[in-house]
């Protein structure tokens, strides 16, 4: 298994995540798509860290995880409260901000 395989896997994961965000209506599923994309990015970072033989990529991957955790905390809170008030977790129902 060469490093290229990791990069290809990362691309595949990212695409799956992106498609999930674009296609699925449920906010939770879209959220999981986002997580998938973040992890695909992490995989790439780690892969490149191995290629260069230093720790920069790994450190950045940690940062991404921290950001993702924070994002999940805020995001889930918003989704839950939207679901409570509107009785739905559909992304298309939550377009009030355009006004």
């Amino acid at each position: 298994m060469t490093l290229v395989h990791y990069l290809v896997l990362s691309g595949i994961l990212f695409s799956i995540g992106a498609v999930a965000v674009l296609v699925r209506r449920n906010a939770l599923v879209a959220f999981m798509g986002v997580e998938l994309m973040l992890n695909a990015a992490n995989l790439t970072l780690v892969t490149f860290a191995r290629m260069h033989g230093d720790l920069q990529g790994q450190v950045i991957a940690f940062f991404v995880m921290v950001v993702a955790a924070a994002e999940v905390v805020i995001g889930l809170a918003i989704i839950v409260s939207i679901h409570r008030t509107r009785g739905s977790a559909s992304l298309d129902d939550a377009n009030l901000l355009k006004n």
Binding site: A18, V21, L22, A30, L91, D92, N95, L97, K98, N99
Partner: protein, 641 residues
Amino acid sequence: MPLTSLAWLLVAIPLVSAAVLLVGGRRTDAWGHWLGVVAAGAAALLGIGILLELLGQPGEDRIHSIHLFSWIPAGDLSVDAGLLVDPLSMTFVLLITFVGALIHIYSVAYMAHDDSRRRFFAYLNLFVAAMLVLVLADSYALLFVGWEGVGLASYLLIGFWNHRTEYAVAAKKAFVMNRVGDMGLLVAMMLMFASIGAVDFEGVFAAAAGTNEGVLTATGLMLVLAACGKSAQFPLQAWLGDAMAGPTPVSALIHAATMVTAGVYLIVRSAPVFEGAPTAQLVAAIIGAVTLLFGAIVGCAKDDIKKTLAASTMSQIGYMVLAAGLGPIGYAFAIFHLLTHGFFKAGMFLGAGSVMHGMGDEVNMRKFGALRRSMQITWITFGAGWLAILGIPPFSGFWSKDKIIEAAFVGDGWQPWVFGPIALLGAGITAFYMSRLFFMTFHGKARWNDGTDTAGGNVTEDPVQHPHESPALMTVPMIILAVGSVALGGLLAIGDTFTHWLEPVTGHVEHHEPVLPIPLLIAATIALVLLGAFLAWRQYGAAAVPVAPPRGSVLTRAARADLYQDTVNETVFATPGARMTEVLTDADTSVVDGAARGLGTGAVGLGNRWRRLQTGFVRSYASIMVVGVVLAVVVVLATRV
């Protein structure tokens, strides 16, 4: 301290009085008119004091320049405000303040029933102050201040009863036509600054001799245009007749002592400029000659007593402008005629006001007649003015007008043979229309409704008139002016007193022989005057005057319509001007506004398009981002290859 240095008080007194009356408002109603009279009177007394002081000095020392303050220090151009006290300006000062004060006194009674009498006196004072600035100024710039000041005051006074639309329109007309003339003065000042670099009299006159004749001619022509506007000369004379909308004392003030004399003053004052510009001088003389006939012809057909007098003023000022245009030989006589005219015309206007006062504001002479019995003082004082304007010796007008006619016959080539006969003919026509006015008003059969002849089935809708003499406040000024009309001319003409008095300003002029002998000219003038008066007597004194005006000949109808001057102005200037304005307005709304509006609509339309993209659907935003990223990647990869 010499009184001369107090000359600024001449302007300050009436100005402060006007300010007090205008700012004080209704609180000054009770005594405001007396304040106005006192202000005018004080200025007159101060003027007489300065005159006596000047008379005590030898001729050459009678020119005093009084520096007041530095007014416009602007780079190369520095204009100081200063007064010029010399025989010419003092002649005007005395005319303005003395006749002005008499008119003020008269107005106390004439305007007694007007609610806004106080405001009226404020404007009168303002008028006097502005006119004094005009004649006392030592530079064209300060003169212009007075020039505009009298324009404003005349606008306020002509439109004094502006609750009547046509009066307000008359005031506006006077104002606008005056502005046309004012452009002349402005351009003249610009030319002076451009060519000489100064606008004060001293600097301009000193440099005038060495200045290019073309520039001087242009300056002179512009000054003549300015004079045309203020002095109601052809072709800017149409406002004068309409100016009769103001109360009668205003007409007396405008016509006799202030406003319309300003043009003559300007030309005589600018003598050194005109010396270097014979063409401009000739134009002034031609305009004077044209106006003198124009006014006289119009005067023959008017039935409104005040409009006849207005036409007469136009014609008499025409004489003065003609004299001023004749050059040095005419300057002194122009001013002399202006002075005597000031007295007899003011007297006649006040007389006309007295007649209107007695006849319930009726101005149609066809409804007067036989007023001499009920208004004897008015009859006698008006008679003095009438004989004076006719030029019957030894009344004032004879001494001044005759000199102008003589001067018109002086010269070379065609000029004396054109100007002379016109001046002579003008005297005859003047005699005709003034006698017509006099006989129609005071002689013949009474044509007003005295309440007795209704028995003959002659039912008239006019109210019953009770003509009566005016109160002493009105008659006394008229008597004083009548005395001036009788005696002033002879007093100043004997021994050429007045000409010598003006010599420091107008220069000494050797006697010139007219192309015809002087006794013949005097005889011809008097013969023509008597003929004119006789014709008027036969038609309007002895014969019955129809109350309804007859249709009249073509000339009469033209004269009634001011020789169609309004129509000409309307067609040549007003209508094309209005059309141009319309076109410009349309261009403004369609092109300029259109462009601005178009930009706005375009931005709004674009915004509406863009707004559609703001769906609020998170997933569509995300797709756009993905598409964007993919495109960016494609572009980057493609450019790398």
